[in-house]
């Protein structure tokens, strides 16, 4: 079964919904070639970059020579395949377009990959279309000035919902509007993802929508929080698709539990978090990394099942503030610490004890310049005591 995403790939500029601006730019580039030799289409996945390149070839009746840079990434490979293609004339048609898909795949470690691309751009006798997601990485700094840059914006929810509806009609599937909209929202502007979800969903009727979430894309922490706070699922892999560490996520959860849960649910959630933290402590103390499993389960499933039923509301999640507060406080109490250190040394006790007794002893340190002298306090420290 071909995927909907392939089956309904736009074949002309007209079919390419809501990327008119980008299509115009591409057409202009091809007409004006070789004024600019390469165009770099960039944007998040599923916005139509490859489709636009393919459509451009069709519209101009040109042959397309496609390269997937995920497979061919180093200089020799590039030279071998792309260079002859860029210098030969097309056999059957008037013109030829070279498509270098997914330039993100050309890694910095593949020596010569990017510089070779630059050289090819300089020499090519055919328009070269490149696509990529994140083109602002430093490794592309040499490449960017050589190309005309065109961004494809993520599609609006409404637009995606419309596309889904068209596909449904063509496939003869009955789907209710609400579901289509849900899929559109979850796709985050990625049409390919939305179509895949639709296909999967219509194939597994009756299954729960939540399976859609297992797609492997970088989840924002806000999405993760919404999932575990509002739905009731085991979510065992919910943290796989984020670059945040479990410990960072723990702080996010800690900060936001009271925004979602009250009373019994709040208690349950903190019990789970406390358990997660207990295992974290053991990992740190004993370097027993297997315990990560338990930490992960407690701070995902444990939080998710803290409530009796799933909810659906808008919550404004906040970033963790505790670490910042502690840091700010430490800045404020640096002086306290240095005074306590000096005091501890003089009276044979630990700094810890001195910090604990600080409010008591500062009473007489503050009022006695003699003691300040014996402690060798500096002016800043004396000022601190006066405050």
């Amino acid at each position: 079964m071909t995927s909907y995403a392939e089956k309904y790939r736009p074949k002309s500029y007209k079919e390419l919904i809501s990327q008119d601006q980008a299509a115009m730019e591409v057409q202009k580039f091809i007409k004006e070639f070789p004024k600019k030799k390469a165009i770099l289409l960039h944007g998040v996945p599923g916005t139509g970059k490859t489709s636009l390149a393919l459509a451009a070839a069709k519209e101009n009746n040109m042959e397309i020579f496609e390269l997937n840079s995920s497979d061919l990434r180093n200089r020799t490979k590039l030279e071998e395949i792309l260079k002859p293609a860029s210098e030969q004339q097309s056999l059957f048609k008037k013109g030829k377009i070279l498509l270098m898909d997914e330039v993100d795949g050309v890694t910095g470690t593949d020596i010569g990959g990017v510089p070779e691309l630059v050289r090819i751009i300089e020499k090519t006798s055919h328009p070269l279309i490149l696509t990529g997601n994140d083109i602002w990485q430093s490794k592309f700094s040499k490449l960017r000035p050589k190309c005309k840059l065109v961004e494809l914006k993520p599609l609006k929810i409404d637009t995606i919902a419309r596309i889904l509806k068209i596909v449904c009609e063509k496939e003869g599937i009955q789907e209710n509007e609400h579901y289509l909209r849900q899929i559109a929202i979850k796709s985050q502007g990625d049409v390919r993802a939305a179509l895949n979800d639709l296909q999967f969903h219509s194939a597994s009727k009756g299954e729960d929508m939540e399976y859609l979430e297992t797609r492997n894309q970088e989840q924002s922490i806000f999405n993760i929080l919404k999932l575990i706070f509002q739905e009731r699922q085991p979510f065992l892999n919910v943290f796989d698709n984020t670059s945040l560490s479990l410990d960072e996520i723990l702080l996010w959860i800690e900060e936001n539990i009271p925004r979602e849960y009250q009373n019994q649910s709040l208690y349950n959630a903190f019990l789970a978090l406390s358990n997660a933290d207990k295992f974290r402590g053991r990992i740190y103390r004993q370097q027993f990394w297997r315990f990560l499993v338990y930490q992960g389960i407690f701070q995902s499933a444990g939080i998710s099942f803290a409530k009796p039923q799933q909810t659906n509301k808008f919550t404004k999640y906040e970033r963790p503030k505790r670490v910042l507060k502690i840091w700010l406080n430490n800045q404020k109490t640096v002086k306290k610490k240095t005074i306590a250190q000096k005091y501890a040394k003089l009276v044979h006790c630990s700094v810890k004890r001195a910090m604990k007794d600080f409010n008591l002893v500062k009473n007489f340190i503050k009022t006695s310049p003699k003691i300040q002298g014996q402690l060798k306090l500096n002016q800043e420290e004396i000022d601190f005591l006066g405050k």
């Binding site: 009373n263 019994q264 978090l273 406390s274 933290d277 109490t333 007489f364």
Partner: protein, 320 residues
């Protein structure tokens, strides 16, 4: 040395005869010192009962005026890692002692702050330098010191100072400093300090810095400044269901007063029995408090654990 104006130092006993309380221990330590051949010593007991003082007296008696050259004081709870301790011990023990006593003395304060692994490492160090060094270690709980170290030391258990001991110290200092202090004030000092002499003297000096005429009320006011008093506020917020305010207040108290999680737990545990909730719930909360204290001691994140405890108080407020 110029005389210190901090009373805990100025009035720290410098000879065995001046020590108040712990008479048995003083007698035995004195005879050890007189024979010059002292073993490693382990002083166990609560804070402010004279452990550091006795260690200082020992070195002063042994080395006289040159005691500072032959004495190293390390605080295990401040030194980061056993490696630092070992390096300092090595550097110090490498050279031979000056004068007639054939060894130097290392005082390792709060040795129970060292992990078991660190203590194992320390045990080797003790053996390696046994010819040139004697260790005096102090701890609050001797059970936290591993057996091999205990077996190498003569153990002395310090008791909390009795009321008469604390009173005599307070009265002596008051007299020398020209203070007027009421009998009730002396009583209050003892009650608040709970037999911790350092705390009693600090409290006296803090009060005296305001007025030389001291009564019990003043003592109580000064003491109140230093208690984690807002714990009650934190718990009240929790019991009325305001978790967010409770946790914000808690963090505030901990940060502004530099109070550790374990001290907060202790305060909460005491406060539970003053709350207006059913006794059955108090027992439940105590169980939870104990579990949380255990987790903090085990090395978990203090604040996450305390938040979990506060959440139990929110439930308690609902009668659960």
């Amino acid at each position: 040395m110029a005389q210190s104006d901090i009373w805990t130092e100025r009035y720290r006993p410098s000879a065995f005869e001046e020590v108040v309380g712990q008479q048995e221990i003083v007698k035995r330590v004195k005879s050890l010192v007189n024979s010059i051949n002292i073993p490693h010593l382990l002083f166990a007991g609560p804070a402010g009962t004279g452990k550091s003082t006795l260690a200082l007296i020992i070195v002063k008696q042994l080395f006289g005026d040159s005691w500072k050259d032959n004495y190293l004081e390390l605080n295990a709870s401040d030194e980061r890692g056993i490696d630092v301790v070992r390096q300092k011990v090595k550097d110090f023990a490498r050279t031979k002692s000056l004068g007639p006593v054939p060894f130097k003395v290392i005082f390792l304060d709060e040795a129970d702050a060292l992990t078991r692994e660190a203590q194992q490492a320390l045990r080797r160090t003790m053996e390696n330098y046994t010819n040139t060094c004697r260790f005096i270690m102090s701890c609050n709980y001797s059970s936290k010191i591993i057996d091999p170290i205990q077996s190498r030391c003569v153990v002395f258990r310090f008791k909390l100072l009795e009321k008469k001991d604390v009173s005599s110290v307070i009265k002596k200092i008051s007299e020398k400093e020209g203070l007027k202090i009421s009998e009730e004030a002396v009583e209050a000092l003892y009650e608040i300090s709970e037999g911790d002499c350092r705390r009693a003297i600090n409290l006296l000096q803090a009060t005296a810095s305001i007025s030389p005429d001291i009564n019990a009320e003043m003592i109580n006011i000064i003491a109140a400044q230093t208690k984690p008093k807002d714990i009650k506020v934190v718990l009240d917020y929790a019991l009325t269901g305001d978790f967010v305010k409770a946790k914000e207040k808690l963090l505030d108290v901990m940060l502004s007063e530099s109070i550790s999680g374990t001290d907060i737990i202790k305060a909460i545990q005491k406060e539970i029995w003053n709350l207006e909730i059913e006794p059955e719930i108090k027992v439940k909360l105590t169980e939870k408090t104990g579990e949380i204290e255990f987790r903090i001691v085990e090395g978990s994140d203090e604040f996450v654990q305390l938040e979990s405890l506060i959440a139990s108080f929110v439930l308690a407020g609902l009668g659960k």
